[in-house]
């Protein structure tokens, strides 16, 4: 029962944040300096009657609080509005491109784990060897290099020179192999920073745990080194790593914005950039809100999973 109470508490606490995200999206169009319709029209100097008609069409002639209530009500009923650029429903457009962003973010997290944990483990076990020094330098570079630049470097060497991977696009959704082929380079570029962070954390966590008394006991009773490291040390070092990975999934979603631009991939990030360039505010508002919902959903899910991994966590105290 306690678990259920904890989980419902965690779900309830995100409701004000969701409302806040909707408010933030509402403010995008109203916080911009000048008249919203003039902002939407850009450099085009529309006659006043056209501006008035558009104001009525978008409900911008009503008082701000009425606009806000209407906006929240329509968003909560699943109506995110219509794109000014394409004329299509905003939510439909978001759902069309979202799988590409999701694959990219998940692919990046998987690659970051596959690279980061083994690198950190070997580094910790071979502490102060040349491998350790090299992997620490690589991790430092990984944390410092901008992902979009690494993406270009990977494109140059692995696509342009070697021809192993396609230059742009996201592949056909019906063909899993084509998706994976198009996914590898962008996911790798996005994963580099997380892989570096995970490798640093694995190394420092393992080094600390390898000094603990119970590891000395395990070794003293004659257990094989592999069992000591995998069964006794790594399992305990994994808890903070799980936290970082779960925190990173949300931020990796954020990183997709720039990476999608480099690889000309469709996705939520590309949609946001296009909306900004074309002043398509309903689309921008919708995409931002959807992003925020995803982020909250990821955080909430990982919090709940985390609770099962580590039963010592008590949300009543954390909130």
């Amino acid at each position: 029962m306690d678990e259920l109470e904890d989980i419902s508490r965690r779900v309830l606490v995100i409701i004000p944040t969701i409302l806040g995200a909707v408010t933030l999206a509402f403010l995008i169009i109203h916080a911009a300096p000048g008249d919203p319709i003039r902002t939407l029209m850009g450099d085009y100097d529309a006659p006043p009657e056209v501006v008035e008609r558009l104001k009525q069409q978008f409900g911008l002639d009503k008082p701000l609080y009425v606009q806000y209530v209407n906006y929240v009500a329509s968003v909560l009923s699943g109506d995110f509005g219509t794109s000014l650029r394409t004329g299509r429903e905003v939510l439909a457009e978001i759902l069309r491109v979202f799988p590409h962003t999701l694959f990219l973010a998940l692919g990046a997290v998987v690659l970051a784990i596959l690279i980061g944990i083994p690198l950190g483990m070997i580094s910790a076990v071979r502490n102060n060897t040349s491998f350790d020094h090299l992997s620490r330098i690589v991790a430092l570079l990984g944390i410092s290099m901008p992902s979009f630049w690494l993406a270009l470097v990977l494109l140059l060497f692995l696509s342009v020179y070697a021809g192993w991977f396609p230059l742009v696009g996201a592949g056909e959704l019906e063909n899993p192999l084509s998706i994976l082929h198009h996914l590898f380079l962008p996911a790798l570029a996005l994963a580099a920073r997380d892989a570096a962070a995970i490798s640093r954390l694995t190394r420092s966590g393992l080094l600390e745990i390898l000094r603990q008394d119970y590891i000395v006991t395990a070794r003293a009773k004659g257990l094989a080194e592999k069992i000591v490291i995998y069964k006794h040390a790594l399992r305990n070092a994994l808890i903070p790593i799980v936290t970082v990975i779960s925190l990173d999934l949300g931020y990796t979603l954020g990183g997709t914005v720039v990476i999608e631009a480099v690889f000309s991939r469709p996705g939520l990030g590309s949609l946001i950039i296009q909306s900004i360039y074309s002043r398509d505010y309903p689309q921008l508002q919708g995409a931002i809100m959807f992003f925020a919902f995803c982020f909250l959903l990821v955080n909430m899910t990982t919090d709940i999973i985390y609770k099962f991994i580590d039963p010592r966590i008590d949300y009543k105290r954390a909130l």
Partner: protein, 280 residues
């Protein structure tokens, strides 16, 4: 203190790199061998060589000169944006942590909302609202950094305000303002300094990302992010145009990360090994 810096080799490297970049930014007018804006189509896309050490770009502009001038933009945006973010974040964190209760609840819910968007995305949204330009860029990156400062400072304030010396000052009749500014804030300075250094690295990357996307400083002003963006179309034939500015971003971000990590070890041993450096 100087001895401790020189003992920590990583921090020393960071310190030296920051010094070099700062000096380059300050003396860019004297250091750049060519006019960074001067176009010369006859010498476009020249590879690195004797005359043009780092080559030329698609308009025949000297890349080295543009890199030197770009340091000025990167550092200015990084430092000013973090100052804006730190000021806002400190104010919110201090008030929130000190007063607690419903003030804390309200402010933290606002911070929660800002934290649901990653820094780059939040900065992107703010730039979309304010329009491009260096000032708006600094404000956008600054505001997007503020929630992280607010969270850290609030946590610090919560710990410090329970200490006996704060009770003593309060018992002696110190006002809320005095308690916050004279007794609590000075005790959070170590964290502020460490976080600021690490966030400068993050702010420089955010600025580069926004400039790369064409939402940063308007051309022809040289910024490292826009230089990479310009170099994209020549990637196949003249890769140095995009590669060199990226190396610079990597070096400056690495410098601030090394310096920040060292500073954390130096000023606040209890933070050692924490995830502050991984915070986005």
């Amino acid at each position: 203190m100087l001895r401790q810096i020189t003992d920590n080799k990583a921090m020393l490297v960071g310190c030296i790199l920051i010094f070099i970049f700062t000096a380059t930014a300050i003396f860019s007018a004297w250091l750049s061998p060519f006019d960074p804006f001067a176009q010369n189509i006859r010498f476009r896309l020249k590879p690195p060589g004797e005359t043009y050490w780092l080559g030329t770009d698609g308009y025949g502009r000297d890349i080295l000169s543009r890199i030197i001038w770009g340091a000025r933009i990167s550092l200015t945006v990084g430092v000013v944006a973090v100052s804006i973010g730190a000021t806002l974040g400190i104010l919110v964190g201090l008030v929130s942590g000190f007063f607690g209760g419903s003030v804390d609840n309200l402010l933290m819910r606002i911070i929660d909302v800002l934290l649901v968007l990653p820094t780059v995305l939040l900065a992107l949204v703010i730039v979309a609202m304010l329009g491009p330009g260096i000032f708006n860029l600094m404000v956008a990156v600054g505001i997007s950094n503020a929630p992280r400062f607010a969270r850290v400072i609030r946590a610090e304030v919560l710990a410090v305000k329970k200490m006996v010396f704060v009770d003593a000052a309060s018992a002696l009749g110190a006002s809320y303002m005095r308690l916050m500014s004279r007794h609590i804030l000075p005790n959070t300075l170590a964290s502020i300094l460490v976080l600021s250094t690490l966030r400068v690295a993050q702010a420089i990357t955010t600025e580069a990302s926004l400039s790369f996307l064409g939402l940063g400083v308007a051309p022809p002003t040289p910024t490292w992010g826009s230089m990479i963006s310009d170099g994209r179309i020549y990637l196949r034939t003249s890769p140095w145009v995009a590669i060199v500015p990226g190396v610079m971003i990597m070096l400056i971000v690495m410098a601030f990360n090394l310096f920040g990590d060292g500073l954390r070890d130096l000023l606040d041993p209890k933070l050692r090994g924490s995830k502050a450096n991984l915070a986005r």
